[in-house]
């Protein structure tokens, strides 16, 4: 399996500019490019695949620069958002396409196709045409077709986004299982932060044309570098406060920031613990399955708290006007783009 490295990549198209000083996927790593649409994540993937040529910079597979290697010589497997199954070929012909081009013996091709079909759980579908398959099945065929050539790198471009929620959740588990089983270095593109968290070893969060932060899912979730990453990964509480004497306070709620001046304090709703007291006023609440989300006003700042129902010191029917809150962990954000 290969180690992928991007160095000093620059790509311009019309008035869009993508710049990646450095990005690396280790051997066998599952790296996800996560970002809103138009941020350049698919372009990055296409540069790795060789479908787009960067204006500047180098793409390394291990220690070899592959900039001038055409896609068909890079030995990559790619799954497109629309699957791109050849509509005039059966499942068998689709999967064996790459093997036939490699001029493998017939027997070997048959063995490998059957292995790939087994891997994605589609044995017995050999003679179907793509249009006779459901979306989920098409997605599996596309995955089998990409994997059967034993690529050194697997590229997945929003492979699940055209499926409905239930199938999406089941398939992402399967993609993860197959990736671990084969130990293949994988680059995965998505705009769905929950999907990215569930599936990735590491995530690179992208905003327009640049990578904001790279790290493992939980680290990114609790220690985002800036407001963009914080907000993109989930519900956030961000407070802009003046710190004095190493402390930043709103009302009776204080944070030990150990700096002076204006700071941006960040914490997730589940870091907010609710107890009896009068730190803030309950403005509104929402019931979620087994949990409650409270909106609490502290000196004009809205703080969102999320707790399991059995953790709050009162019953929903007798909601007090005021509660005490405690923030167990927080971090300080840098400036956002």
């Amino acid at each position: 399996m290969v180690r992928l490295r991007l160095e000093d990549i620059e790509f311009k198209q019309d008035d869009f500019r993508l710049y990646i000083p450095f990005l690396e996927a280790k051997q066998g790593e599952f790296l996800t490019l996560l970002g809103p649409s138009g941020c350049g994540k698919t372009t990055t993937l296409r540069i790795i695949a060789g479908f787009e040529k960067p204006d500047k910079g180098r793409v390394y597979f291990d220690d070899t620069v592959v900039n001038d290697v055409p896609p068909y010589e890079r030995n990559i497997g790619i799954v497109f958002q629309d699957y791109a199954l050849f509509p005039h070929m059966t499942v068998y012909d689709n999967i064996s396409f790459g093997l036939k081009l490699r001029k493998l013996p017939k027997e070997e091709i048959r063995r490998r196709v059957s292995w790939a079909l087994e891997l994605v759980g589609l044995k017995g579908f050999e003679d179907r045409y793509p249009e006779q398959l459901s979306g989920g099945q098409q997605q599996r065929v596309a995955l089998a077709r990409a994997l059967v050539i034993e690529p050194q790198l697997l590229l997945l471009d929003e492979p699940l986004s055209n499926l409905d929620a239930k199938i999406r959740e089941r398939l992402r588990g399967e993609v993860k299982r197959i990736q671990k089983e084969l130990g293949i270095t994988t680059i995965y593109v998505t705009h769905d932060q929950e999907e990215a968290m569930a599936i990735s070893d590491r995530i690179a969060v992208m905003s327009v044309g640049r990578i904001e932060q790279v790290g493992n899912p939980l680290h990114l979730y609790y220690n985002p570098k800036n407001e963009f990453v914080a907000k993109f990964l989930g519900l956030s509480n961000i407070l802009e406060v003046n710190a004095e004497g190493g402390k930043a306070c709103i009302g009776s709620l204080c944070f030990e920031v150990k700096t002076e001046g204006r700071v941006k304090i960040f914490f997730r709703p589940e870091s907010v613990y609710v107890e009896e007291g009068d730190t803030g006023e309950i403005v509104d609440y929402e019931l979620l399955p087994g949990r409650i989300r409270l909106k609490i006003d502290v000196e004009g700042n809205l703080i969102i708290a999320e707790r399991f129902l059995d953790e709050i010191p009162f019953s929903i029917k007798k909601m007090p006007k005021k509660v005490g809150i405690r923030v167990k962990s927080f971090s300080i954000l840098g400036s956002s783009p």
């Binding site: 479908f51 896609p71 068909y72 791109a84 050849f86 081009l101 077709r145």
Partner: protein, 543 residues
């Protein structure tokens, strides 16, 4: 990336177009605008001449009138096709393909036999209906050719109008004609506009129909250029007329292409309403009766000229005979000098197949470059390959006469010059057919093939070519049908031994031998019918 072969492939089509379209075009410009320096003398001479001026106005007028008649005939059909399923719809739909493959000289002959002084209609009503050799025959023949386009384009868009728009309007109180006028009609406009522009351009540049059905008094610019060159040998006037025609048709063609863009955008809507099957009760009501009336009109309109030709070819003095066929193939009645009918048939087939090969290769490489590659100067490339669409057969013939009558390219009188002329005339339509399928093939398919180890050429051969095959077949049939139907350009540049079926028919018509002309037309019809069946078999949407 290794892209050597790919850079190379841009040049053959451009060189071909330059030699066999732009070079002749420049020759015409030189002929009409040059006299020891640039001059507008010849253009002004044409414009100040009252005959030519009348011809120009008539050309525009008949194109407009033909378009209106075509819409009148086509729009009810579009409505019926979009909304209802009824017995016989399949046959009616197939019938609408017929005009596309029927050569205009044959339809003109059918009109003569139907509307002539001793024709079928004259015998039925007891007097000359006064249609032939006037603008009426021209309009009718143009409508014959173009109303199927209106039916197909408009009904296709009609089926794609999201029913929610109409339902929303209904809920807001619009109904009946108001609903149609305020909601449905504006949404149909792209299709109506595009099909109208197509019809208009066709009628503006049409040659055989006004030549044979209009006569001297109802000449169009195209006929006028033809007469100026072939009868009067006045190349200056011919070139000046051609320049006027090209300038106008560039404008019309530009509008047509713009309207086509709008149409394509509107047609992208995913919604597709299935036509409703009519119940037996509805079929027996007024609705059914109106559909029946319309269907009969279409049947009669499309089939009667063809039946008239077939009937005439087998009768003499009211009795069945094979005499006309004997005369077609016997030397003593032969008005074709320097060739015979067998040679003509062989020539037509040969030119037809050669045109298929050349125009498919040309259109395929152009379509591929247009829809798959990005490079500097691509806009210029697009414009260069689309311009030939705006030229007419006679203009092309004139250009060939001027450009290829002297060294270094002394090609006049060769068989391949005829093939190249047919290729230039046919390839824009092949391009259209191929582009339509190529646009539908997702670019990700090629990329998927490339990621699996296929280079660009292999990805094209294994994935895109098989998927585009239907469009290529339809394009090839178009090219064949256009080649065997071509009269004007061929007539201007051929030598007697390259006489085609169409020219033979024109010769028979010229010597007023309607019997042999009909017999020859039936032979042409058989060839066209094969083309028709092939188009129906591929099942590709051809517009």
């Amino acid at each position: 990336m290794k892209m050597k072969w790919r850079n190379f492939i841009v040049f053959p089509p451009l060189i071909f177009l330059f030699l066999f379209f732009y070079f002749p075009l420049i020759s015409i410009l030189k002929e009409g605008l040059w006299d020891n320096g640039i001059t507008l003398k010849y253009i002004l001479q044409v414009i100040s001449n009252s005959y030519h001026r009348r011809v120009i106005f008539f050309t525009l007028w008949q194109a407009l009138a033909s378009t209106l008649l075509t819409l009148l005939l086509g729009l009810p059909g579009a409505y019926i096709f979009a909304k209802y399923d009824f017995p016989g719809k399949g046959i009616l739909k197939a019938l609408l393909t017929v005009p596309f493959v029927m050569p205009s000289i044959m339809v003109a002959l059918g009109f003569i036999l139907l509307f002539g002084r001793s024709g079928v209609i004259a015998q039925l009503i007891g007097r000359d209906p006064g249609i032939l050799y006037s603008w009426k025959a021209i309009l009718l023949a143009h409508a014959f050719y173009n109303f199927p386009v209106v039916v197909r384009m408009v009904s296709s868009l009609w089926q794609r109008i999201n029913p929610h728009y109409e339902e929303a309007a209904l809920s807001l109180g619009a109904r009946g004609f108001t609903l149609f006028r305020k909601v449905t009609l504006p949404m149909l406009m792209p299709a109506i506009f595009a099909s109208s522009m197509l019809t208009f351009v066709f009628c503006f540049l049409s040659f055989s129909i006004p030549l044979i059905l209009g006569g001297y008094q109802y000449a169009t610019i195209e006929v006028d250029i033809f007469t100026a060159i072939m009868t009067l040998l006045d190349f200056k006037t011919g070139a000046a007329l051609a320049i006027i025609q090209i300038s106008l048709s560039f404008v019309f063609m530009y509008l047509y292409l713009k309207s086509l863009d709008l149409y394509a955008k509107a047609e992208e809507q995913r919604v597709f309403r299935k036509p409703v099957s009519l119940t037996l009760r509805e079929l027996l009501s007024i609705k059914g009766a109106l559909i029946a009336v319309y269907s009969s009109v279409v049947f009669l309109f499309i089939l009667s000229p063809l039946i008239a030709v077939v009937y005439h070819s087998f009768t003499y003095g009211g009795r069945f005979t094979l005499e006309w066929y004997r005369r077609v193939f016997s030397p003593e009645y032969n008005p074709i000098f320097g060739a015979n009918s067998i040679t003509a048939i062989r020539n037509s087939l040969f030119f037809g197949f050669s045109t298929v090969i050349f125009s498919v290769l040309l259109a395929l490489s152009i379509a591929y470059i247009m829809y798959r590659w990005e490079f500097g100067g691509k806009n210029i490339f697009d414009a260069l390959v689309m311009l030939p669409l705006a030229s007419s057969a006679i203009t092309l013939g004139l250009g060939y006469i001027r450009a290829f009558h002297k060294p270094p390219l002394n090609l006049l009188g060769t068989w391949y010059l005829i093939v190249f002329a047919h290729t230039i005339i046919a390839y824009p339509f092949v391009l259209r057919a191929i582009s339509t399928v190529l646009k539908k093939i997702k670019p990700s398919l090629k990329e998927a093939a490339m990621s699996l180890g296929a280079n660009e050429l292999k990805a094209f051969l294994k994935v895109e070519l098989p998927l585009a095959f239907g469009g290529i077949v339809v394009g090839a049939i178009f090219a064949f049908a256009m080649s065997i139907a071509e009269l004007g350009a061929t007539y201007m540049i051929y030598k007697p031994e390259y006489t085609t079926i169409t020219i033979a028919i024109y010769r028979f018509l010229g010597s007023r031998q309607f019997g042999p002309a009909s017999a020859m037309s039936v032979i042409l019809m058989l060839v066209s019918t094969i083309a028709f069946i092939l188009i129906e078999r591929t099942g590709e949407e051809i517009w």
